[in-house]
């Protein structure tokens, strides 16, 4: 755990289906925690975020609010676009700050999660790390020299859209062969369905008996020992490793942290990912290859990171 600042902050991790909210100490501890469903209506969502922040602040004044939002967030705190929420050019930072009368910071949710892992989680001992979150999509966050890399337009570290197989499977972004359709939780389900449809799954496999062939169901089957399900996870893991190699060849972080719901697959994805990674890492023989580890804050990473970003301010802790 890094040297802690002072105070408390509210962290709001806003996803397409659910919101994780909490009151967080400067040391990253979560003092209060709430899980909420994301309303479809953006005004209802705004009011829900306001109410959550007020409840969690418990009447204390000047508790800053940090938001991690599942979308493209520009430097002026405007959510330009969110694939699973109806926000378009939503000036959420300004609106929340005006309504709550406190300092509000907004970042991409995966960047917030990366900051949480960097400050008080799996990356607390390193100076640079990349985090990939595997869920419906693939998110990313990047810390270099103890600074969160937000990118020139605020759209940095979209690691789900590292292109590893140009012309490969379609990505929701409109491209083909991005990491997202190859290594997300969604991808795990797709790979399994394609193998079933293609007759590549032995008759005895549990995959034939699933009600719905989702990433989660495949992961459960794999943990129960189903060989075909494990091969599916190994395929997603292979692509994850290719994407991480490409990323590490480009920016060479000290550590790679993998989080998100789909990391329930654990070593069944990470082990093949590490193998594909080391084979493709430049100078692997001349250095200790970058470690690839599992996130340690679990579902709290986003809200903790968002809260700490609001406390750490625009020049994050540790910046020279």
């Amino acid at each position: 755990v890094r040297a802690a600042g002072e105070g408390l902050a509210v962290g709001l991790d806003v996803g397409g289906t659910k919101i994780a909210a909490g009151l967080v100490g400067a040391d990253g501890s979560v003092l209060l925690r709430e899980r909420l469903s994301t309303p479809d209506d953006t005004e209802a969502l705004f009011e829900l975020l306001v109410d959550a922040a007020l409840r969690l602040s418990q009447g204390q004044v000047d508790i800053p609010v940090g938001v991690g939002a599942a979308g493209l967030v520009s430097h002026d705190g405007v959510i330009r676009y969110a694939p699973n929420i109806s926000w378009v050019d939503e000036p959420l930072q300004q609106r929340l700050a005006e309504r709550l009368g406190v300092a509000v910071t907004i970042d991409n949710d995966a960047s917030a999660a990366a900051w949480g892992e960097f400050r008080v989680g799996a990356g607390s001992a390193v100076r640079s790390m990349a985090m990939l979150t595997l869920g419906t999509g693939v998110g990313g966050g990047l810390v270099i020299d103890e600074r969160l890399v937000r990118g020139a337009s605020g759209f940095g570290s979209e690691f789900g859209h590292i292109i590893v197989d140009e012309g490969g499977p379609a990505c929701p972004c409109g491209n083909h062969g991005c990491l997202e359709p190859l290594a997300s939780g969604t991808a795990i389900g797709r790979i399994a369905r394609e193998r079933l449809a293609g007759g590549q799954v032995p008759a005895g496999s549990a995959l034939h008996r699933l009600d719905a062939v989702t990433g989660k169901a495949v992961t459960v089957a794999a943990h129960a020992g189903d060989a075909a399900a494990r091969e599916v996870l190994a395929t997603a893991g292979f692509w994850l490793g290719v994407g991480i190699a490409s990323l590490c060849n480009a920016v060479d972080p000290e550590l790679v942290v993998i989080g998100g719901g789909a990391i329930q697959a654990g070593e069944l994805v990470l082990e093949p990912a590490r193998r594909a990674f080391v084979e493709r890492l430049i100078g692997a023989a001349q250095r200790r290859p970058t470690k690839i580890v599992r996130a340690s804050l679990s579902d709290d990473a986003g809200l903790v990171g968002a809260a700490l970003l609001s406390l750490d301010g625009p020049a994050p802790a540790g910046a020279a």
Copy 2:
């Protein structure tokens, strides 16, 4: 041009076949310039670098020396591996410093070139930029928030080994589908030879009449108007654009600068690169897409950047 420091430095840009050396002012001006051939023998190379530094310093004491070397350079100034020079774990920083009695810094040559373009070239007005050098291979350099990103092990910004077409053409690094075998000068020659062998080049094309189908020869034919040669450059440009999209989705720099010998192709490569890039850039509709421009320091970028790195010291100019 950024605020200049004081003093003079020697810059040595050491490639596999030639060395560009110069005496450089703190404003990036090149006061003296030499071109030398790279000897095969590493001891002869060492003596040649010593002699060049002494000649260029002209007897003045305390002139620091900055080296950009075509290889993997670790943080302790050791060249761990160089694909085209026989160095293996060569402690060049320490050896030069001991022999010359001055401060010596060593970085990867493409990183040095990126620093040169950032400080006094095409990137002098931005805070973050990526540079790709297209030559025999593809090199890279990355500046974020006015700092050169060297990577945790010193092996950062090897943009030639961003993997865009897993399973694609073989790369000298041992992988397949890296940017290097798809968009380097060498790649331009390979693509042309494959099209010739595959009967895809119309009988009238100048490509049939080349003595040697090299990237340079194809580029000359393309500038002379040969349609088949232009298609070859467009293919290399397409892959360059895919690689830049992948890079910009991951780190979102303000500017991308393209240098190296193969950029003689100019807009014949850059225009198709920009088209492939914008189609694949995340949030391209929500922001002004990152500009892709040609380097402005030409062959001097590496020696100027190496010299300025030796003057700027370990915390580069502009670091907060």
